[in-house]
Symmetry: D2
């Protein structure tokens, strides 16, 4: 059984039954079976279904927002933003369904092949198994579901057991569309059962968003599957001496504290040029104090609790470890009214979990730097490589950052949390494998097939 | 020690020492180290180096041809063709080095992002470990080396222990270019040592061409690496009743018997419409008899021995198994002068190795069919899915074949062995993972990085 | 003054005042002035405006349909189809506004430029002057207006003086969107005044759909403008001996008789393989007799009158000319109840207007052929080159037709009238200059600008 | 008769006969006739021919350089550079011949078209008439010839009557290739005869590089042709206060004085931020004095004479006009040893020819500015719009410049004369119509043809 708990009020929202082994098996069989119906369901029809779903979510925006607040403890403003994003993601998929990555390729590379041309089209790889996390219970599920629909691929989605209700509502909306039945199915199961699916040869693609330890292990057990992993990071922002401090602070406040840092691209580290370090720090503190904490369901709340107590305790212990190793607590570091306060640490160093690991909580390390190259090295001195931000007006700084930062995305004059749903998104090093972003995810759910013919 | 043997004369050509563990470790370190030099080596310089290498191979064409004849036992006409192909592959890579898959992406998907644009560029993933087979000792090595150079990726290449000398000559040519030293290195090692490299985290990409059993296992042991597998198949050709029989026979003769069938896309199965089956068979027999067998070094030889006795024996045993299970031997089926004769079997059926497994020898199964859909089903009733050919002038036949054949490539009015070196090449199902073909291989050696900025 | 007349009932629908010279001048000035507002109006906002317009047309679908029936005399079924197409065209433009043809170009072509990259983006060329015809009073106006909005280009649209009311309703819808005021303006003026605009240097692009004589003359007077001309043709369909006769007849019935042939890509010529000529002809006659003629406002009517009497008389005189020169009237050739009946001629030949010129009326010439190459030559023996159709299942036939037909589009197993609004559409030879189809039209309204920078 | 004169020594090099009317007519007929041979000459063969030509020029590099020095009076260093560029241009064309702009387009935009796909391929438009200028007698001819060959289009090239010999040598090289005879032909004729060709309907494309007055008039007389115009400009460079002064001076020295300013993208105007204006000016003067003037054939000469006396006199008169209107002569302004000295003017203003018109000589206007927006306005306050340069390290400056400068290309930290032969090149406003740069020119020589078919 899954007990869904409101992380702020601690009330139980609902109890869901896990699917039995027989039910899961049945879902796999149905996913296999719906392949031929989906093959006959044209890109136009897929596009129409995706538009329909986007419109339905628009209509039921409040219900989705409320569910995300309830089960994820996400402040209303961010929950509503996530619903908007999900609508956008489906809309993009509706458009991309009509723009598959097909091409005509000239094959004339010798007299023998001088009149040949290749027609390269893309076909669904087969069943997708998607695993989505609690922190964006809607949009990170949509980033697996929408590309699956757009490519005509059946999908089995296992949502986080902490936030299954949003996924259930999404399924309801999808089932109201004209998609062949069983195109999209939910699987509520234990991690062990999940691992069986990871290894199941009837599934062609694994798309996992979650923790690195789990993800990388799955890659090894995935057999012949294609694998996409969207894992964690300890994203860093670099604020150069020529940056607009006010802009940098305003953007990084969101990067640092949105959803209590429970975001893969949460700004966990801030490196500020020493010339402006003090001023930045002061301004950042002042602005952080203006956060409105409380019940995520309140309209004005923009900072609330973490997903559960064990995570709160984990983060507290990491802060303690950092302080024990010499870090300085600038503010925060404690729990009030079930809320771990925004926590800023300085004098952090390699070897502290708050700097090296993915904190996934409201903790930020702030340090100063002299040369940009040193800041870049510091950012790169990490096993992670998801996104990084740089605040500067210098072309050479930006070029250097883009060329040298070992990440999947470099964000200029915005926080590390910046993401648009069509852009390629994902990390290198231990942060991930492959990219999401609708067209990119679609590519991973497809196989190229070439027709060689005469012109 | 590696003993390189001429498969036809059985003479020993040369003895090579395996690299010691220390040498292999040294090579990995040097590959790691050359990354920064390669990062600074511009696409223009990579392109120039690739052109230089192509020109050098052109100059030393005879030496390469001779080596391929000697160590692979490949008839001169095919060996010379392979050298031409390798020149072409390097030339394509020289051109593609200047056409990376970069793009500008509009990010205006909400008012908030309305002035954002994404600049997506691609950077080398890191060290590539390439493993290449004996059957195209030059060009299948080049399909790993050229994309590595084009993307600025260091590569460690492990050539087949049966045919290491062609790779050595290739290395000599590459070392004469202006590429940073150690950009391309050869590794001669045992399979066990190879497996260690497959698992080594300092290597970012594994590109393997070889046997399925080995390849799929490597995928599981490859850790965080990207993996490209080019494995085997039992490629089939469908000859429709409206086909030009003479054309079909002439093309399929090459598909069937080139290099004694030791080609991944060897035409192992031929399905002929029953209306023309008899005529086709007769014509095919007649033409097969015209093959000139003998020493691969002779100018006129177009059919010679297999790579070694154990493979000859294996194929003979498969033929025997098929006959025991009811297959009919149309011709061939025995060894003469160290050459396993071209062998045609009919009345084959599922359950016989010659039909189900990759025979990788001069054996072809020929069957007839009534409906095209039945022929397609028969082709698809296999664990493999590399390439298939269809001979027809009917648009609806061709559409049906392209839509329904479960393969990476459908070839119209040419044998299954058709390949141009820029086209995406690779299989689905158990035949492979990912695609080669220069630009496609390059894509797999690269990581996308996005710069989000204001317009 | 413009008097708008119902072509079927001959009733006057409305009287519109022509714009005075001062009004036209004012419109040009406003178009100039709105350029800067449009430059600041982001692609996202343009896309939103285009979606809004599409949705509004959807809501007012009946009003649009009614107006098209009234002022163009188009049967309801086709009028409603046109409104659907217009919605589609705006929707495509909404999507394409977010997919401008920008690119990143590697510039490393020598050591000197080895670190340069080009960022190529597209900017509005300036004011567009669109001239649209009576036969698709909505969708052919939209094919000028929607790309203008998508590219941020002000547009002055001169609709046909026969059908200005649909354009007025469209303007009303557009003005309800958030587009900067005066982004889209209508100009009702004499041909002379129109010619002044054609020559006016403040206008950057001329997009004309209409008669060839007028169009080609405009090109010469257009000064420094870019010019797109969508002119006429005498489109031909080839029915090969292996064609599905029933399919060919059903498709060509629409190509031949839709909107009484007043369509640029009206199937004016049908060439049938002699083996099936008789059967085709008989079937075609039978089916033509099933057309339901009458008031275009009636639900069931699928064939009605021409746009005005002078055109009816012109076409009658052409038919007479053809008969005088030896053509045989298979059926039709006369007016009943204000409707020029569907007219089929055989034994036509070069030198007859019904074959050589654009008839733009319900007249079709049908001839037989022996060899495909002869049919293709006959199709090409014309000053026009818009679209052609071919009915066959033969790959070699289709290849030959595609390679050799001198037209902008070859349609397989559909009538010449086939068009989807995103596809490139337009003719060669005297049939036109440039292509429409949303992304193609957008390209013509844009100028490339390259930023050369260091990587 | 054409008398070819060495502009420096004033010696007659050679006398060429103009082609008679009959000869020109014959060339047109041959161009028409070679179309079918070129249609059958595959992209592969075109590519091979283009590579061959590039290699032949490489072999005869010295002869080409010498001819350019002789007939154009271009200093050896720049003449040799032009030959390198021509080789590059042919090489790019050889590559692009194999990468035509073909595409597969999804046409599923309604249920009716849900299974349709468009195969869009490009075919030669027909005969190209190219007119090339004296200032790059080789490479600007090649920019017309190479795309013609790459697209299989016959071309008639009319080189400048001042520099026909380089074109003759180029033709010799081309004729040694395997291209069908008459694919490329030279026309030496009077301007009047040239105008006849401009109007000739047998020619499909006019590609003109030369003076604006001539070009724009040709556009009006070009009938149904496609027209590409590469005309003049008064290119400006903006040097911001944060620029690297030394870099800016070094780059702009070349932009200002290369080939005595006889370059379309010659840096005619320099706007320097007032904070660094004085320093820049001083440094620029000092460096200009280091120019080595004299015989262009001398190895060290980097500044020589203009193309002829009438142009020298014209430029002198413009300088005089400017001084009369208040401009200040910083240096130069007179002729020494047949060489018009490098001339720098300050206090120039609108209304002076040296600022408003294309000077096409060694004259530069230098002014200071306070705000970047004012400098951009000043640059834009011109009828021309070819290229502009900006020296800055500021991202916001560069964005502003790229968004607001009304030109075809913005060059960052390089002179306005920067060009790579694959990049889109051409102007807006009166500076031109369309773009060259190999793939871009190819696009203009091609017509799209779509095949609509079922998937």
């Amino acid at each position: 059984m899954i007990e869904v708990i409101n992380p702020y009020t601690k009330e139980k929202i609902k109890t869901l039954a896990l699917h039995t082994d027989a039910e899961v098996e049945q879902k796999i069989l149905q996913a296999q079976k719906v392949k031929s119906a989906l093959k006959a369901f044209t890109p136009f029809e897929r596009s129409q279904a995706l538009h329909f779903i986007a419109q339905e979510i628009e209509k039921r925006k409040d219900a989705f927002t409320e569910l995300i607040i309830q089960e994820a403890g996400k402040p209303r403003i961010y929950a509503a933003g996530e619903v908007e994003r999900a609508i956008q993601t489906f809309t993009i998929a509706a458009e991309e369904a009509l723009r598959p990555p097909q091409e005509l390729m000239e094959l004339g590379r010798s007299l023998k092949t001088a009149r040949k041309i290749g027609e390269i089209r893309y076909f669904s790889s087969g069943v997708v198994f998607g695993i989505s996390p609690f922190n964006f219970p809607l949009n990170l599920a949509v980033h697996k579901v929408a590309p699956a629909i757009a490519t005509g691929s059946p999908i089995l989605l296992k949502p986080s057991s902490k936030t299954p209700l949003t996924a259930e509502l999404l399924l309801e909306v999808i089932n109201a569309s004209k998609l062949p039945k069983h195109s999209v199915q939910l699987v509520h199961c234990s991690r062990e059962k999940g691992n069986e699916l990871v290894a199941d040869d009837r599934i062609a693609v694994l798309s996992f968003t979650g923790s690195p330890a789990v993800g990388w292990k799955m890659k090894q057990q995935a057999g012949k599957k294609k694998v996409v992993l969207e894992l964690g990071g300890n994203a860093a922002a670099i604020v150069c001496k020529d940056a607009d401090i006010e802009q940098a602070v305003n953007k990084l406040l969101v990067g640092a504290w949105a959803y209590a840092g429970q975001v893969c691209i949460h700004t966990q580290r801030i490196y500020v040029a020493e010339e402006i370090h003090e001023k930045f720090l002061e301004h950042f503190k002042t602005e952080t104090q203006k956060l409105i904490m409380g019940n995520p369901a309140d309209d004005k709340t923009n900072f609330a609790c973490m997903i559960d107590d064990s995570n709160t305790q984990r983060v507290l212990s990491w802060i303690e470890e950092a302080e024990n190793k010499g870090a300085q607590l600038e503010f925060g570091g404690k729990v009030e009214d079930n809320i771990l306060l925004p926590t800023l640490l300085s004098s952090t160093a390699k070897g502290m979990k708050v700097r090296d690991e993915e904190v996934f909580g409201p903790v930020v390390c702030i340090e100063s730097f002299q040369e940009l190259s040193a800041a870049i090295e510091e950012v790169n001195d990490s096993k992670w490589g998801l996104q990084a931000a740089i605040f500067t007006d210098s072309i050479s700084n930006l070029n250097q950052a883009f060329n040298d930062l070992e990440v999947g995305g470099v964000i200029h004059n915005e926080a590390t949390t910046f993401r648009v749903d069509n852009m390629p998104y994902g990390g290198i090093k231990e942060s991930g494998f492959g990219r999401e972003g609708v067209a990119y995810a679609m590519h991973d759910y497809l196989e190229a097939k070439i027709l060689v013919k005469n012109k």
